[in-house]
């Protein structure tokens, strides 16, 4: 199989909190995979480990066959909050990863500007983040993530902070963007519809200590849209995912 990223038997405990229990998952090239799990089960912790900013107690992160456990800077990482720098305009914010790599301003701008149209940010290059709506800020954060590393992107609830309506527009928009770019994406969400709309595969995690409870393959035909919600295949899949999510372990 053409797997670009693999997490092998990841375990992690905080002082008195056993968070991740033996998580193994993989992401194939150009695949969109979602991780669904109850709140506080350790999804963000798993992402910090994959991004290399936290160390697992056990297990390894393998990217393109090489060990990347605890090594930051290989994959790009987007947080639920946009985390844009309030003191920089959108263009500079988006270019930040390039600046950090030592690319000069002119070159960085030239590299980022062609993507502004696709990310719906054209004409807002010189605005400060505080002047943009939540949806636009989130798109800017996504473009910044994209500028850092295009082959593997980790998105941690990128639309979690948006209102329902904006979130839906953003999901549709992201789906269209995914048609244009060649990235492999790992997404965290609470939203089953979001997961089924965007993904090729879905992992469902259990309560803490989190284990992978089940893996679903989403074979709905693309392009997907609002009308996909009505397909019997979709309804059936959503029901089994929901059942799997809410099925609590017996000791609780």
């Amino acid at each position: 199989m053409d797997s670009i990223l693999e997490a092998k038997n990841i375990k992690k405990s905080f002082v008195r909190l056993h968070t991740l229990e033996n998580i193994s998952l993989h992401l194939n090239r150009k695949e969109f995979v979602t991780i669904l799990g109850p709140s506080g089960c350790g999804k963000s912790t798993l992402f910090s480990i994959i991004a290399g900013i936290a160390l697992p107690d056990q297990g390894d992160v393998i990217i393109e066959g090489e060990k990347y456990t605890g090594i930051a800077g290989r994959v790009s990482f987007m947080h639920q909050k946009d985390l844009l720098l309030p003191w920089r305009n959108i263009l500079d914010n988006v270019c930040l990863p390039l600046f950090l790599k030592g690319i000069n301003q002119r070159q960085a701008h030239a590299e980022a500007l062609p993507h502004f149209a696709l990310f719906g940010l054209e004409g807002f290059e010189k605005y400060y983040p505080a002047q943009l709506s939540g949806g636009m800020r989130q798109r800017a954060a996504l473009l910044r993530t994209f500028m850092f590393s295009q082959d593997i992107m980790l998105l941690d609830e990128p639309f979690g902070g948006l209102d329902a309506l904006t979130r839906q527009t953003m999901q549709q928009w992201l789906m269209n963007v995914m048609e244009e770019i060649e990235s492999s994406v790992l997404l965290i969400t609470h939203d089953v519809d979001e997961a089924l709309l965007l993904s090729d595969r879905v992992y469902v995690l259990s309560h803490r200590p989190a284990e992978i409870r089940k893996e679903f393959r989403v074979n709905l035909k693309r392009p997907r849209g609002l009308n996909s919600f009505a397909e019997p295949e979709y309804i059936q899949l959503k029901e089994s995912v929901l059942a799997c999510l809410t099925d609590r372990p017996s000791e609780e």
Binding site: S76, P86, S133
Partner: protein, 264 residues
């Protein structure tokens, strides 16, 4: 609409000031209080105009001492704050001393400095440095320490070096806090120089103030006080101006409406 409200507010506060000056003037005119205790504003103004040359000569020295002391305090304070932020070990060992040092009232050190360094500019500058140093250090330290943890995690995920973390995130994030410290220190700087001059010297507003007090020229004492207040306000305004220049993004926070999302 908002602008109009602002103008009204300004007029109101200016009106209160004018009323206050008017009542003050009346206490003198109606001889409620004798002029040798509380001269009316008109007399103070007259004293200022008459002694303008002399006041300016003394004010120059005070201003020089305050500015030099403030600049040194800013440099030292920022360097110390950066070091304490960067090195947890330095912070743990030095921070308690930094705090305790503030329990020593600087004013009691002034006579000592006069003994050690004479009556020139140096002891005054030293007092200004000591007075200004602490607020700058503490405010920058606080600003650097309260940076969003998730933002720092993101910088880590993007493999930023220590210098890059400071340059792109920590320093700009600490600016508002630093400037509030600078403003406090700025107003202290003139006061510090004047206190230093009280201990002894040949020039400066503090020296001049003692001199006119000895000749019971109350209106001139008030004239000096007025100049000191004006200088303090001036220093504060300059720092505020620098603040606006240094943080252009702050102006956009409230003044502009959110643009409508393109895709809606």
């Amino acid at each position: 609409m908002k602008k109009w409200r602002n103008t009204v507010d300004h007029l109101m506060s200016a009106g209160v000031g004018v009323l206050f000056l008017f009542l003050w003037e009346m206490t003198g005119r109606l001889q409620i209080l004798p002029a040798y205790l509380l001269p009316p504003p008109s007399r103070i103004l007259l004293a200022m105009v008459r002694n303008a040359d002399l006041l300016w000569q003394h004010a120059r020295i005070t201003l020089l001492q305050a500015v030099v002391g403030f600049a040194i305090a800013m440099l030292l304070g920022c360097l110390l704050a950066l070091w304490l932020d960067y090195s947890p070990l330095a912070r743990k060992t030095l921070y308690p001393y930094l705090i305790t040092s503030q329990t020593v009232p600087i004013i009691v050190l002034a006579p000592l400095f006069a003994m050690w360094f004479g009556f020139g500019i140096l002891p005054k500058v030293l007092i200004v440095v000591l007075v200004c140093f602490f607020p700058i250090t503490i405010s920058l330290m606080e600003g650097l320490a309260t940076v969003d943890k998730e933002l720092m995690d993101l910088m880590h995920a993007m493999d930023a070096s220590t210098w890059q973390k400071y340059r792109w995130v920590k320093l700009p994030a600490a600016m508002p806090s630093l400037f509030s410290g600078l403003k406090i220190s700025g107003t202290y700087s003139i006061m510090g120089a004047v206190i230093g001059e009280w201990i002894g010297g040949r020039m400066g507003l503090g020296v001049y103030m003692l001199r006119v007090r000895q000749s019971f020229a109350t209106d001139q004492v008030f004239a000096v006080i007025t100049v000191i207040v004006i200088l303090s306000i001036l220093v504060l305004k300059i720092i505020q101006l620098a603040e606006e220049k240094a943080m252009p993004w702050q102006q956009h926070d409230q003044s502009q409406e959110e643009p409508v999302d393109q895709q809606k």
